[in-house]
């Protein structure tokens, strides 16, 4: 019972993290493309952020599967 509650809580955390990463990416994209000097640099920064976030979220989900 307690273990299932922890797993449910962890699942909610994962959904919140994905939501946070998505909103943060939109915010970053807005600022970089709106106020940045170069579109190439802005796109590079956004790709780096999404790649790193993807790796971290993948690790999060993998760890969740072993809970």
């Amino acid at each position: 019972m307690e273990t299932s509650a922890i797993i449910n809580f962890a699942e909610i955390i994962i959904y919140l993290v994905i939501l946070f990463v998505t909103l943060y990416a939109i915010t970053l994209g807005y600022h970089w493309f709106n106020f940045g000097k170069s579109k190439t640099t802005s796109m590079t920064a956004l790709i780096i952020y999404l790649t790193g976030s993807g790796i971290i979220v993948t690790g999060l989900i993998t760890a969740f599967n072993f809970l």
Binding site: Y24, N34, G59
Partner: protein, 189 residues
């Protein structure tokens, strides 16, 4: 893009556009990198020092999934902080045109301060390079005094090669004043 947001006047020419020195960004990202490693160091310390010395019957390997989950949560926040620092660094610019100086300060997300003054109102430009690293890498603060009643000074910190930027501002101000109608910096009819 940035130039569109600055709204240059017709015929206005950008002379130089500078950002804070790369060392400032690198030092902040390095501190976040250390923060990302610190949970792992803390775990190692706990495992080898406290658990080992106190003979506690705890095997951290049994909690590897939980530890990995929590560490990934910490990494998400630190990764976001890295890009917050990078965004604030990248969007802070000092733009010198042939008519004015514009200092754009991104204080945070959805919080942007743009200060500008016309070169005719400039009275004095000072530079301040403080510290061994700043001296070796040649970055510092550019401070401009204007003919304004505002108490807040126009100050751009951590600018690369402040001496060169100062000379560009002074040259632009001289050119502006010499080309203005009555050479006093004040346009009259």
């Amino acid at each position: 893009m940035l130039i569109d947001k600055i709204h240059l006047e017709p015929g206005e020419e950008v002379l130089v556009q500078a950002r804070r020195h790369w060392f400032v960004l690198a030092s902040r990202i390095f501190s976040l990198f250390v923060a990302a490693l610190s949970p792992l160091l803390f775990l190692w310390f706990i495992n080898h020092s406290i658990i080992g010395n106190l003979d506690l019957n705890i095997n951290l390997n049994n909690y590897a999934a939980e530890i990995a989950f929590l560490y990934c949560l910490i990494l998400v926040l630190i990764w976001a902080a890295v890009f917050s620092v990078w965004t604030n660094h990248y969007l802070d610019t000092l733009t010198v045109t042939d008519r004015r100086v514009i200092l754009t300060n991104q204080k945070g997300f959805f919080w942007r301060n743009v200060a500008s003054f016309r070169l005719e109102r400039m009275q004095d430009v000072n530079t301040d390079i403080n510290g061994m690293i700043a001296t070796m890498l040649n970055f510092g603060t550019i401070q401009v005094e204007t003919a304004s009643d505002a108490e807040e000074e126009f100050k751009a910190a951590h600018m690369p090669d402040p001496g060169k930027i100062k000379s560009i501002i002074l040259q632009a101000a001289d050119n502006r004043i010499s080309t203005s109608p009555n050479h006093s910096g004040v346009e009259t009819e």
